[in-house]
Amino acid sequence: MSELAWIDAAISSARPQALAALLRYFRDLDTAEEAFQNACLRALKNWPTNGPPRDPVAWLVLVGRNAGIDEKRKTARFAELPPEEALSDDGDRETELVEAIDEADYRDDVLRLMFVCCHPDLEPTRQIALALRIVSGLPLPRIARAFLVSEAAMEQRITRAKARIAVAGVPFGAPDAVERAERLGAVAAMIYLVFNEGYSATGEHVAERATLCDEAIRLARLLLRMYPTEPEIMGLTALMLLQHARHKARHDAAGEMVLLEDQDRSLWNRGMITEGLALVDKAVRHRAPGPYQAQAAIAALHARATRPEDTDWAQIELLYGALERMQPSPVITLNRAVAVAKAHGAEAALDLIEPLGERLGAYFHFHGVRGWLLKQLGRKGEAKEAFNRAVSLAGSAAEANQIRLQLDGLERDAVEREAGRRG
């Protein structure tokens, strides 16, 4: 790896912590970002000659603070800091300094930085864009590409979102236990949004948008390093790892979705699966169940099955039941119905979903699942009707194609039956 690539990786990994600390000093996102940019420029000049510092975060915080103070000609009194030339070859000193400044607040700094991105006034896509720009530091063109919009449009979106949170104000008080838990919950939801934005991609954009999944996993690992005993953060990280492990098997060459049971499981990423399973096991020991853990446990059961027919559907049904109690939703019931069908047959599953028709009548998957169940029960006419309904509600060509395959299956059955009758 070239020196520059190493410096790049060091800076981008240091970004969330360094920027978070600078945000606490300057109490203003723009000033903190400017100070961080300045520190990065100096790092690019300084590190190749002096060698990379032992602690890039500490270096960037100190230099960024100095730069920010110069820039703003702040009158506030800060402790005298050593010049940056003295920092690189004096690892212990810089570390001591930053530990003296930070230690206790470090993790809450990072949490705060993530938390400002998930302000409830910001619609989800803006939260995601902001987090990718501010916390991850992804370059604007890459974020724009991931969202399939122009750079100008993305820049405007981010500028507006920033203006919105500047008005709302950044919460600078040290959070108490309840606030911390609330912030963790909001940040976890935001990270999962980032993930799903990438995970839901189909067609030609799959590869570009997979970046978002990698980025979400990175953010979750960062959060977990700061809060290593939070079972729901373990659950969230595991859930994303276990889902993203299937990345290479989830789409065919044309970018079309491949259903779980049709996926080539040898393409699943074993490293991610192992990491996800280890995290699920760790989380369960805390005996504090939560929605991310339940979903991760479901994903873990799929990951553990070597072949589709080895899947422990009875256990999956129980987990969906638990998830339903934690966050009641017809969509979760629909998912449970699939497990019920696999474990106990289509009849029981159909009984379970019929009452959902009123609330899920406009939902593509409801009609897809219903058609699938009716088909298994041999009620072909009703199945065809349900599939047609699903096609009309499909959100993408890929979704519609999935259902058309089912319809083709019905037709083929009919033709074969016809042929059988004649022959």
């Binding site: 990786a9 060091a10 990994s13 005993t229």
Partner: protein
């Protein structure tokens, strides 16, 4: 003499590598290992998953106390290890030098192995 060469690195920096950098680094490491394997000097090699997946156990009375995370919170984390046959420290340093060139930015600890039994002789 058998050496355990322990690779310490900042895991968040390694985690920030792009996929291309990651693949390139693994390819460079593979070529160092290949040479050692051809010379019959390479033992087991392991790459460890992030410390966030780690748990540590110590006894509290008669019960195991399970702690989340690695045993020691350090600036650099143990990310993997190699077992390599080296006739002396100089040779081990040379291997570490090559590994360091292939995977720069970290630290390689050279630790002579006292007992090595892939399958314990008593089993």
């Amino acid at each position: 003499m058998l050496y355990a060469i322990l690779c310490y690195h900042k895991e968040d920096v390694v985690g920030a590598w792009t996929r291309e950098e990651e693949d390139a680094c693994m390819a460079r490491l593979a070529s160092v290992q290949e040479k050692l394997a051809r010379e019959g000097r390479l033992g087991p090699v392991a790459r460890l998953l992030p410390t966030t997946a780690a748990a540590s156990v110590r006894m509290k009375g008669d019960d195991p106390l399970v702690l989340d995370g690695p045993f020691a919170e350090t600036k650099e984390q143990l990310l993997g290890f190699y077992l390599v046959e080296c006739k002396d420290l100089d040779e081990a340093i040379e291997v570490a030098r090559q590994l360091e060139i292939a995977n720069p930015g970290g630290t390689h600890e050279l630790r002579p192995v006292g007992l090595y039994s892939p399958v314990p002789a008593t089993l």
